[in-house]
Symmetry: C2
Subunit: 465 residues, 2 copies
């Protein structure tokens, strides 16, 4: 049984929880901070600039794969906008990024009928010989099924028809299935396949394949790998079940070029009392080379930008520096996040928090938090400021990829948590466009990001690590 002093302390803590809207961990959220957070939220809910800027950027530059001119042109456009907004210390922080290019590609079914099949090569895949690879097809349901039919795989194109786990929540369903994208080529090559195809990692499709990064290992021959839609994977599977002979020709010009220069785009609202203490608020600018990268992750990057621009517009001067970071190379390398870690290693002790949105700017529920229990308690108090938009969720969970390297150094991490029901309808596909970005949902995401970042930067003391 605890001593009296501890009991008092527990009672005090319970009282703090009951008064959560006014208390962040051991410290009160000052009335002025609360009032400003409320103003920010109101401004975000009326915001139209971010949607129009995101539309203009994605319409004008399109998709933005690492190494592409469109990524760098989009970054130049963003840098110009940040300067026009009056941000401080606007800059591109250089990093070298992988440079994979798709080239022309096609998949053709020859028997039982001659027809093109909509496909997307996976990012990082090797190409085929110029004449393509023509081979019969072996359809398997899983890695175990491939093992069971390993003797039939030699010389074949192996299709993994592993359905998205729709019995789980969307992100868990994705994580349970995306192993086929990551490891399909290696697994198929190990049993002698000449190429691999996956059923796209998608929860719904209108005949739309989804790309994404694949991997090779050092000891297995590299074979090309591509994705097809749910519909075509199921069709080929049915053909096999019927005993219809099937052959395919896969042609891919994909290749990996030497690393290319890119940048993390950075801009600041300098803190009024502790300019050396930093709250990072972020999303990534790079995208896959299909669609327009509006959802993944233009929306997240522009929510971060707009959250801080609104502070400037309202004349808010938080105590700590808020640093907008729009990452490069989230999709196929993570060089942006690692580059930031390396360049800012000496300052990480004074990084108060790192926020990222990278699950779409759908209706926000709140944030996932990656840090200590004390940090979580402080974060939960801040989350109560988002009660007007019902985005008060603040639970332990994984942060997003780009902030990973600095979170692993002890920086408390926050990931915007949204209703991702439709995220895997569009993710890494030609369907990732502005049509996915609901204006009202985007406004609430901007509001949630702004309130969290501002409060973290304006509290009397930094939240506990």
């Amino acid at each position: 049984m605890p001593k009296l002093e501890s009991m008092t302390s527990i009672r005090r803590f319970s009282l703090a929880l009951l008064l959560a809207p006014a208390i962040a961990g051991a410290q009160a959220i000052p009335a002025s901070t609360r009032a400003n957070a409320d103003k920010l939220l109101t401004a975000a809910l009326a915001d139209t600039l971010a949607w129009h800027r995101l539309a203009e950027m994605t319409d004008t530059y399109g998709n933005r794969l690492s190494g592409s001119a469109s990524l760098e042109h989009a970054m130049d456009w963003i840098l110009t906008g940040l300067k026009a907004d009056g941000f401080a210390n606007v800059r591109g922080e250089p990093v070298m990024v992988p440079h994979w290019v798709r080239g022309a590609e096609s998949l053709t079914l020859h028997t039982p009928r001659e027809t093109p099949i909509v496909m997307l090569g996976l990012g990082g895949s090797v190409g085929t010989p110029a004449g393509g690879i023509t081979a019969p097809v072996l359809v398997v349901k899983s890695f175990d099924d491939l093992t069971a039919h390993a003797a039939q795989a030699k010389g074949k194109i192996v299709l993994f028809d592993a359905p998205f786990r729709t019995d789980l929540d969307p992100m868990a369903g994705y994580e349970a299935t995306v192993v086929y994208r990551g490891n399909g080529a290696v697994a198929a090559a190990k049993v002698g396949a000449v190429a691999a195809i996956i059923r796209s990692i998608e929860s719904f499709s209108i005949r739309s394949p989804h790309t994404g990064a694949t991997r090779y290992d050092a000891t297995t021959p590299k074979i090309p790998i591509a994705a097809i839609s749910i519909e075509d994977a199921e069709m080929l599977h049915r053909m096999q079940e019927r005993g219809q002979p099937m052959s395919l020709t896969l042609k891919m010009e994909a290749q990996t070029l030497p690393d290319a220069p890119s940048r993390n785009v950075v801009a600041e609202l300098v803190g009024s009392e502790h300019p050396d203490e930093v709250v990072v608020i972020s999303g990534h600018i790079d995208s896959w080379d299909v669609g327009n990268g509006a959802m993944d992750d233009g929306g997240g990057a522009f929510a971060a930008w707009e959250a801080v621009r609104l502070m400037k517009e309202l004349g808010l001067k938080p105590k700590r520096t808020i640093r907008v970071v729009m990452w490069t190379n989230e999709e196929n390398g993570g060089r942006g996040g690692r580059g930031y870690h390396d360049a800012h290693k000496a300052e990480l002790g004074k990084h108060v928090a790192a926020i990222e949105s990278d699950n779409g700017v759908f209706s926000p529920d709140g944030f996932r938090f990656q840090g200590s229990d004390n940090g979580l308690a402080a974060a939960q108090a801040i989350a109560q400021l988002l009660a007007p938009i019902k985005a008060t969720k603040m639970e332990k969970g994984g942060a997003e990829a780009d902030v990973g390297p600095i979170i692993r150094e002890g920086v408390p991490g926050f990931a915007l948590d949204v209703d991702d029901t439709r995220y895997f309808w569009f993710h890494h596909s030609i369907g990732d466009t502005m049509a996915v970005i609901d204006r009202a949902e985007f406004q609430r995401c901007i509001g949630a990001m702004a309130v969290l970042a501002y409060t973290l930067a304006d509290l009397p003391q930094a939240i506990p690590r």
Copy 2:
């Protein structure tokens, strides 16, 4: 105030309605007919053959535009299946059909950025010169908007960005918008445009354009016309609003060849008492030349087939002949329906009813009825037999296109009425595949078609015209 005799008649009619499950208009539905209808429904709800046959046909032959080899090969396969099932009088009834071919086609945006835009030429469109048509773009919201900007249209490619009316039910929304597909080329040519593009007539898109038939008139120059997705129409519209200069190149090899031979596929279950009296049950086999035509209208055609095959399997012998008709050329000509009318004109007086499913085999609500009030009362009584699957809706409404010519001669018409919420997500697009066909919903459609056709064929008297 009515006379006593009339009052009695009204009371009698009301009583008939109250006893609706047992009465068809003035006649009772015999207990044996009711029992057999119930057996049919039970069998349909356990049916798997139709789904697998539809999958095999659509997988093996793909889409089936009028004039294509795939349509005729699919018909040969169906005829073989009908004979194997033991249907009587299995035959293809010849008709000549329009023969439009798409050829290669593309749409490329040049400014503000160079990018291909996913497109589909509209059926019946003329092609472009071999080098394509390159021109600046005028985006309009409607025909009225085009009239208001007529002076700016000369030499341009006109884009009609007219959104699908999602404030209406799906079919009404379609009908309110499809005028742009039908008349867009003529309206644009009249004001000097060199080509026309429409926002696809679709209620949801994953960057998926939808084709469909367009029209020309005799006095206006024929210009090519194509469809793009919601997403790209909105993007081009935003570019115009921003003042970004836009130019496009449209290339289409589309052409109309001489009419080609095709067939209506016909098979019968011959009536035991009145073999010369006919209930037609139908759907169309032809489709657009994209997707696999599983929803539009393979599912409807195969529901008709399976409905009657189940009667044969159960050994049912209705009094009248039930004639399965799988139409050709619904999509771009209506020659199947008109050809049947012409070939069977002398028998139409003995056509008791004509049923068609052509709105997808989604969850059925019942039927729309096109005929007299007395006919409707009889039909409503039959619909009560579908209470176990909650498909008892029987209301006046338009029948489907292929049965139109014989309905206009007085044959009572029935259209399967379904939950078409998602119909215009897939219609006339590459997304029309087996993935759209829910097995349980398809079973209920087969059940509804079977019960209606059987009862109409087995009643002591034909339902009133």
